[in-house]
Symmetry: C2
Subunit: 319 residues, 2 copies
Amino acid sequence: MTSVFCGVDIGGTKYSVALINEKGKILDEIYSREHTGRNEEGLVDIITRNIKKIIRRNGLQESDLPGIGIGFAGHIRYRDGVVITTSNLKGFRNYPLREKFQSRFNIPILLDNDANAQAWGEYKFGAGQGFDDMIFLTISTGIGAGIIINKAIYRGNTGTAGEFGHTIVEPESDLLCTCGNYGCLMAYASGLALPHLFEKKLKEGKKSKLTLLPDFNPSEITGQLLKKGLDMDDPVSIEIIDESGYYMGVGIYNIFQALNPPLIVLGGGLTNWGDPYLNKIRSTFYGLARDMLYDPVEITISKIIGNAGVIGAAALTIK
Amino acid sequence: MTSVFCGVDIGGTKYSVALINEKGKILDEIYSREHTGRNEEGLVDIITRNIKKIIRRNGLQESDLPGIGIGFAGHIRYRDGVVITTSNLKGFRNYPLREKFQSRFNIPILLDNDANAQAWGEYKFGAGQGFDDMIFLTISTGIGAGIIINKAIYRGNTGTAGEFGHTIVEPESDLLCTCGNYGCLMAYASGLALPHLFEKKLKEGKKSKLTLLPDFNPSEITGQLLKKGLDMDDPVSIEIIDESGYYMGVGIYNIFQALNPPLIVLGGGLTNWGDPYLNKIRSTFYGLARDMLYDPVEITISKIIGNAGVIGAAALTIK
């Protein structure tokens, strides 16, 4: 009998429950947005129901699984399975999420930050295969990361290691991050930064080819929209993508100096900008690392096919 | 019989060979500057002679020691024991230092970066006792660091992990670091930065109480001199120490977000600036970390008594 693993990925706008096989291929998935209107208990209830459903409808029993891995978009105190805080869902302040799920199942529940789960999935099934150490970065609305050291997730004391998005790259910056500090990497190189960067370009008198209503809301400026801009040679989009790539290159250089990993894997929506973005990241990184690069450092794109979040969550149950 | 451990600390201006006991206390030490005029082989010869001498004069034999630990101020490829480069001594480009020592002894030679060795000494005998994870930073001419993760030194792929001094905190800076990049932490918050910072203050029209000859050489501005300035309420010295503390606080905050350690231990000459410096580091760090600090992070001073470098080097031979 082949092995089956169960994962749950809980994000701000959707959640997903899936079974994967030992190669990281999704066998079945339930995908929904129905959790967002609910309180904490309600979320646990509805997701529990769907975990039990997906197990049942695949002719399995709980005991056929080594456990259930849950990736959650928030700060998790790993040792006690508590969600400390999240900016993605209402509530969840010091909420004992692992315990709440555990009381509903007879197999171990593993709860981790979603980026840690994705890093682990990437290490098990993706670009990280064969490496002992790697850094995974997911660049989308925010910047998340997972650190693999000696074939294990490194979580730090609380469980929040890898918050490279909140490292400060411009201390005297006027760019405010959601965390309340100025000049974080996330304030320069994440989806959240794009509206501000776009407005700044327009204020500088630059013209965008993107058709925007005169009263457009800056929050409409997403990575997807800038991808369109890129495809139509819009100079404003090109500049923002270039600058985002520059700051990610600096951020990755800082990770290199701090942790000296052989591999950095990038995932998340902004990587869809493709070569202009990745080339800028790489040229910035290699330009800074120069003669301090004594062994190869590979910067590559996630190789997970399908929902990386839920695959990573399921992978948490694999040693 | 009590255990005895042998360490060698090789720096740019001096080297030290010592025996320590299982509590990290130095039993005997040979301290010299005679290596600086020599080539690589000559350095290995003279230090070998002194290692054999200190073993002999303490009534020991090589086989009484588990090995010899060597801390070297430079970039080390740990897995093959090669000094890749050093800015502290002439030569030593891809020099197989471990092998050169190994051929002269019948017990294992362990070669590591000096900051890694100090971190290990601090973990074994100093402020790190009882912690599984910690970061050690030595702030003197440059900034070195050692990372302890899961009760072991984390070295990264090449062996150069922990180069926090070369993480970039001001990408658009005009402050050049010895590495060739601009805006590194080391360019703002190390001994190397002091002459430049001092000159800048004078150019801004600030008056220093320190008695300087009109044609003073900026390189005379050391941490020790600014300590004198601090003691005489010199406003320029106070400002520089305050700014250095600010940037170290930012650097430590970035380490916190990256690695989430429970403990950061500071060593090195600049910590002699004392409370005004340490308070600024702490207030900057805690001000930035605020509500993202879910578990205590302690920022403390090295507790090693005596030559921390050679004690750390000897500690490398202790599991």
